[in-house]
C-alpha cells in the first residue's frame, strides 16, 4: 500500500492526530490504516466518492462507532493528547467536547425548547443558565427571530432547513471544541444549505470543524485543509491530505488530481 502523501505539520497545533486507524463492520473492512492530523480552529474538509469510509471516520472520532454492534476499531486516535480508543476514555466528556451535526436533520420529537434543554440538563447546566444558553444558541444559528414565539411547539413542525439549524444550535449549546459535520447541507434545499454553510463558515474562528462533503465547490469555499478519502482494494483510506490550496492547485497524488478536476470519483 502506498503511504499517504502528507504535508509537513510539525508547527501546527493539532486537535486530532490519527494514526493507523482501521475500522471494520463484522468481517467487512471499511477503513484501513488512516493517517490524518486535524489542525485546531480550522475547517478540514473530508472529500471522496461514496463508500470510502468518510462517515465511518467521523463516527470513530467521538466513538459513535460504539453504537454499531459489530464495529471494530483499531489504531490510535489522539484528541488533545488523550487516547480516544482507550477503555478509560471518558465518553461523556469526549462527546461534550466533540459535537456532531448529521446529514439528515435529527431533532428529537420534543418541543423546540426541550430539544435544547435535554442535553443541557444532562450535562448539569444550572436551570438559570439554560434559558440564556437556549436564546444565545438559537440567535447564533439565526433561528431566534423566526421561532421565538413557538418554542413550545414540536421541533418536527419546522422546515428541513430550520431543523438542521436547530440541530446545529443543539450541538453548539454544549460549547464543543470540535464540530463533526457529516454532509450537513446535502439533505437540504439549496437556499437552506447555503444558510447552514454560512453558519459553519462563521464558526471557524471559535471551533475546529471537520466537514464531510460530496460537494467539491463547497470544500473549496470552506476548507483550510482537505483530506481525500479513496477506496484502495475495496477499503477506504486517506490518499492525500494537506492545505486546501495545495490539494486543489498542486496535488501530489494522481488520483487526487483527477478527482479535484472532476475526471474521477
Amino acid at each position: 500500500m502506498t503511504p499517504p502523501v502528507q504535508a509537513a505539520t510539525a508547527a501546527i497545533d493539532n486537535v486530532f492526530t490519527v494514526n493507523g486507524l482501521s475500522v471494520s463492520y463484522g468481517t467487512v473492512p471499511a477503513l484501513r490504516d488512516v493517517q490524518l492530523t486535524v489542525p485546531r480552529t480550522q475547517i478540514t474538509a473530508i472529500v471522496g466518492p461514496s463508500g470510502c469510509g468518510k462517515s465511518t471516520f467521523l463516527s470513530a472520532l467521538n466513538r459513535l462507532t460504539d453504537l454499531v454492534p459489530d464495529c471494530r476499531v483499531s489504531g490510535r486516535i489522539e484528541f488533545d493528547g488523550g487516547d480516544v480508543l482507550s477503555q478509560n476514555c471518558d465518553l461523556f466528556a469526549l462527546r461534550r467536547r466533540v459535537g456532531v451535526v448529521f446529514q439528515k436533520p435529527n431533532p428529537f420529537a420534543l418541543s423546540i425548547r426541550r430539544n435544547l434543554e435535554l442535553p443541557l440538563r444532562e450535562h448539569r447546566v444550572a436551570a438559570s443558565e439554560i434559558e440564556v444558553i437556549v436564546e444565545r444558541c438559537l440567535r447564533d444559528v439565526g433561528l431566534w427571530d423566526e421561532i421565538k414565539d413557538r418554542l413550545e411547539k414540536s421541533a418536527l413542525k419546522l422546515s428541513g432547513g430550520q431543523q438542521q439549524r436547530l440541530c446545529l444550535a443543539r450541538a453548539l449549546s454544549l460549547n464543543p471544541e470540535v464540530l463533526l459535520c457529516d454532509e450537513p447541507c446535502s439533505a437540504l434545499d439549496p437556499l437552506s444549505g447555503e444558510i447552514v454553510e454560512d453558519l459553519i463558515s462563521r464558526l471557524r474562528e471559535r471551533i475546529t470543524i471537520l466537514i464531510v462533503t460530496h460537494n467539491l465547490a463547497q470544500a473549496r469555499r470552506l476548507a483550510d485543509n482537505v483530506a481525500v478519502f479513496w477506496q484502495q482494494k475495496g477499503v477506504g483510506t486517506v490518499i492525500e491530505s494537506g492545505p486546501a490550496t495545495q490539494i486543489f492547485e498542486q496535488p501530489h497524488s494522481e488520483i487526487t488530481a483527477a478527482y479535484v478536476s472532476g475526471s474521477r470519483g
Binding site: 465518553l91 461523556f92 442535553p119 444532562e122 436551570a127 414540536s154
Partner: protein
C-alpha cells in the same frame, strides 16, 4: 403500450379485495355487538351491576364478579407490564443482537406465545397455588394471566422500540445523553403506541380467559376481601352460566355485554391517556 389496462385492472381488483376484507372485519364486529347487546341489554340494570349473584347466577347481579375481574386484571398488568416492557427494553437496547442470551430469551418468548392457556392454568396451579401457597386466589389467577400475556407485551413493545430510527439513538449519544435519559425522554415516548397496543391486546386476552383461571383463581361468587381470596371473573361467570346453569343464557349475554363495554371503556381511556401523556411529554418544557 398495452400494459396499462392490465395493471389498472389489477389495481382495481386489489382494491376491491382489500375493501371486501375490511368490510368482513367490520361485519364480524357488528354481528358480535348486535348479537350480544340486544340479548344482554334487557337484563341490564343498576342492581345487576352491583349485586352479588344468587341462585347460581340466575338471579342477583354481577357486582362481585366485576370486582374480581378488575382485581385479576390489575394483578395481571402489574406483573406483565413492568416485566414485559423491561424485557423489551433489554432486548432492543442493551442485548447484543445475535448474542446467545438474547436468542434464548426470544426463543422462550416465542414458545410461551404458543402455549395453550389451559397449560398456563396447570402451571399456575402448581407454581402459584401450591408451591407459593397462594391457594385458589385472585393473586394466583392474575399472576398466571400475567405470564400468559407476557410474550405479547414483550413483542409489541419490542416492535415499538425497534421502529424508532437509529438516527435518534446516534443523535442522543452524540450529545452524551445517558442511555437512561434517552430511553425515558426519547425512545419510550416514541415506542409508547406499540406498548399501549400490546398492553391492550394482552388485557383483552386476559379478560377473555377462562381455562387458566378455573384452576387458579377459582369461581367463588362472594365479594373478595383480599387478593388471596378466590374470585370469579366475568369470563368464568359467562362460561358457567352458559354451560352449567339451565336457563342461564340471558344472564350470560348480559354479563358478556358488560364485559364488552368495560373492555371498550378501558381501550378508549388507555388510548386517550397515552395521547395526552405524549402531548405533554413533547410540548412541556423542563422548567
Amino acid at each position: 403500450m398495452n400494459i396499462k389496462p392490465r395493471s389498472a385492472l389489477m389495481d382495481r381488483a386489489t382494491q376491491t379485495v382489500g375493501w371486501l376484507a375490511s368490510l368482513m372485519i367490520a361485519a364480524m364486529f357488528g354481528w358480535l355487538v348486535f348479537d350480544i347487546l340486544p340479548h344482554g341489554v334487557q337484563e341490564l340494570s343498576w342492581t345487576f351491576l352491583t349485586d352479588e349473584p344468587s341462585d347460581a347466577g340466575r338471579a342477583g347481579g354481577i357486582g362481585t364478579v366485576l370486582v374480581s375481574t378488575l382485581l385479576v386484571l390489575a394483578v395481571c398488568l402489574a406483573i406483565a407490564v413492568p416485566l414485559g416492557v423491561g424485557t423489551a427494553v433489554w432486548l432492543s437496547e442493551f442485548a447484543r443482537p445475535g448474542s446467545r442470551r438474547a436468542a434464548a430469551v426470544r426463543w422462550s418468548l416465542d414458545l410461551l406465545a404458543t402455549v395453550p392457556s389451559i397449560v398456563f392454568g396447570m402451571f399456575g396451579m402448581v407454581v402459584f397455588c401450591q408451591m407459593l401457597r397462594l391457594g385458589f386466589s385472585i393473586a394466583a389467577g392474575g399472576l398466571t394471566l400475567g405470564c400468559m400475556i407476557l410474550p405479547l407485551v414483550v413483542q409489541t413493545s419490542f416492535a415499538g422500540l425497534q421502529s424508532v430510527p437509529n438516527e435518534l439513538r446516534a443523535g442522543a449519544a452524540a450529545l452524551a445523553i445517558s442511555r437512561r435519559a434517552t430511553l425515558q425522554h426519547l425512545l419510550l415516548p416514541a415506542a409508547l403506541h406499540g406498548v399501549v397496543v400490546g398492553v391492550l391486546l394482552g388485557l383483552g386476552r386476559a379478560a377473555a380467559e377462562t381455562a387458566a383461571l378455573i384452576f387458579t383463581s377459582g369461581y367463588a361468587t362472594r365479594m373478595p376481601e383480599s387478593l388471596l381470596d378466590s374470585g370469579r371473573t366475568a369470563s368464568v361467570h359467562i362460561y358457567d352460566l352458559a354451560m352449567n346453569v339451565p336457563r342461564g343464557a340471558s344472564r350470560a349475554y348480559a354479563t358478556a355485554a358488560v364485559l364488552l363495554l368495560v373492555l371498550l371503556l378501558i381501550n378508549v381511556v388507555a388510548t386517550v391517556l397515552a395521547d395526552r401523556w405524549l402531548q405533554r411529554q413533547t410540548a412541556r418544557s423542563f422548567r
